[in-house]
Amino acid sequence: MAGVILRRLAGAVPVLLIVSLITFGMMRLIPGDPSSVIGGLSATPAQLAQIRADLGLDEPFFLQMLKWYTALAHGDLGRSILLGQDVVGATLQRLPVTLALSAYALVITVVFGLCSGVFAALRQNTVIDQLAMMFAMLGISVPNFFLGLLMIILFAVRLGWLPTGGYIAFTDDPVGWLRTSTMPAISLALLQVGLLARITRSTMLEVLRQDYIRTARAKGLPRRVVVMKHALANALIPITTVVGIIVSLLISGSVVTETLFSIPGMGQLLTQAVLNRDYPMVQGGLLLTTAFLVMINIAVDACYALLDPRVRYESP
């Protein structure tokens, strides 16, 4: 088990390397650089050149890259050009916001997606099943931001129940957090709820057809036990894989949601950084976010082994 995790961690290194290479290359490829943002529209070419020289942007591409990786090897991700704050600090400030929002959306996804999927499977081909799957399809088809807009118009503008945007940290004020996070979390979760409901339903239907379910019924176990213990324990194995993917989708999907609801999270931070060509921030922020996603995936794999004894035993 520990061996598996270590192997996966080692396997993550090339992933991070490739991601950072791509980010580095892409940022230099898109036109414009931080000097114009810092200098403003009125800056003279000489001023711009001076700024470039200060930032080391006049050096050859590969030298810049070498410097960045050398610093990285020393644990230094540099300072954000735009914020003047160091990259790690800025990330640590913003990432928790995105994670809290994603976690909230994940809870919504798992509760509603799993329940409606199981329920639909147990009532296969009834009106309940069809209604649940219709809503799931709707959730998948309606774009996040559209639903977000509708909710803002209805609950914030018309009814005035919730703020139109902004963010209050959970640690500052839990109720305030709920008030500011609920609409974003719902709009972020909706697609995933639909996805998870459909996959849960089809997985449950598949599992319920298995021989061991018939055995469980033949033993006289109550239906509740057959479904919640025998069927769900097996269905959770493939569902966990999907939930792992959903976690990544939620974190990356929060970019749009954060912009829509003006939430100061990682998505907003990186969007701003890209727009302003804040090279160190983009490179460092993306690297840290990717590292985090990789760790989540490893955690999901560990869950997988917990749920499936066959996986647990085959690995040394």
């Binding site: 055995t215 033949a218 006289g220």
Partner: protein
Amino acid sequence: MSLLEVRDLTTAFKTERGEVTAVEDISFDLDEGEILGIVGESGSGKSVTALTIMGLLPQPPARVVRGSVHFAGELLTGMSETRLERIRGAGISMVFQEPMTSLNPVLTIGEQIMETVRAHEAISVRDQRLRAIEMLDRVGIPSAVRRLGDYPHQMSGGQRQRVMIAMALACRPRLLIADEPTTALDVTIQAQVLDLLMDLRDELGMAIMIITHNMGVIAETADRVLVMYAGRIVEQAPVARLFDRPLHPYTRGLLDCVPTLEQDRNRLVAIPGSLPEPARRPAGCRFAPRCGHRIDACSAAIPPLVAVDASHASACIRTDILA
């Protein structure tokens, strides 16, 4: 009163091409402690009969069209699911053909035996554990205590089938239905499992309904035999009598190609032709198209199962002439 009384049991399935009758007018009795063999080619309706008795067929698509099943005087057909749950596993247990897929892969075998006991008896976890160990011992799993925590994938096919039997017998049922319990196993293991079933019958005094397509298995285990063809019983007799003096041409065909236990895999192939699908059954006697003794009258009406004496019956209009 017999332990199990099945009368005119008829089960149909809803399919895309309308409703097809899988088994029809099945009637038989099974006494306490008796071993009844049910034999027939693949598709003849053996499993459907067993699953209908257990109430395990999903309805729909399955439907019990008519007939009744009484177990220990209680009417099972039409009984509520909650009441059936109390009988399944405690009064009637079932062992299935596929030991590789019939155990839950994510639960330990100890838990799978213990939960059966838990479902039917109010006893402590400690006693559930003791019962599981006792049952594993009894079915010949060595070092049972240590294996309680094992998962099915850590066991061989023969061991899994033993676990299935241990599980099925954990609550001392009065009837065990074994649906091809040895088909998926190696020849030597097959004989061991059959011996185990016979021993357990002697020890616990339960009745066994053993389903097979193998006349060799019937010869070794059963007291009495039902021969099924295309969803109907075509002959019924004590085992010695059946092997001695088979009446129905189909039974004779089966006996002519008795595979010994050793050649189990080459199923019953010596009878020319093949079993008709439920939707394509011929009028009259369903075996007629494959029968060497066929006459025109055979296709006029389905021949009823007629008793030639108290224990032997056959569904062939030419029984008298052919006997």
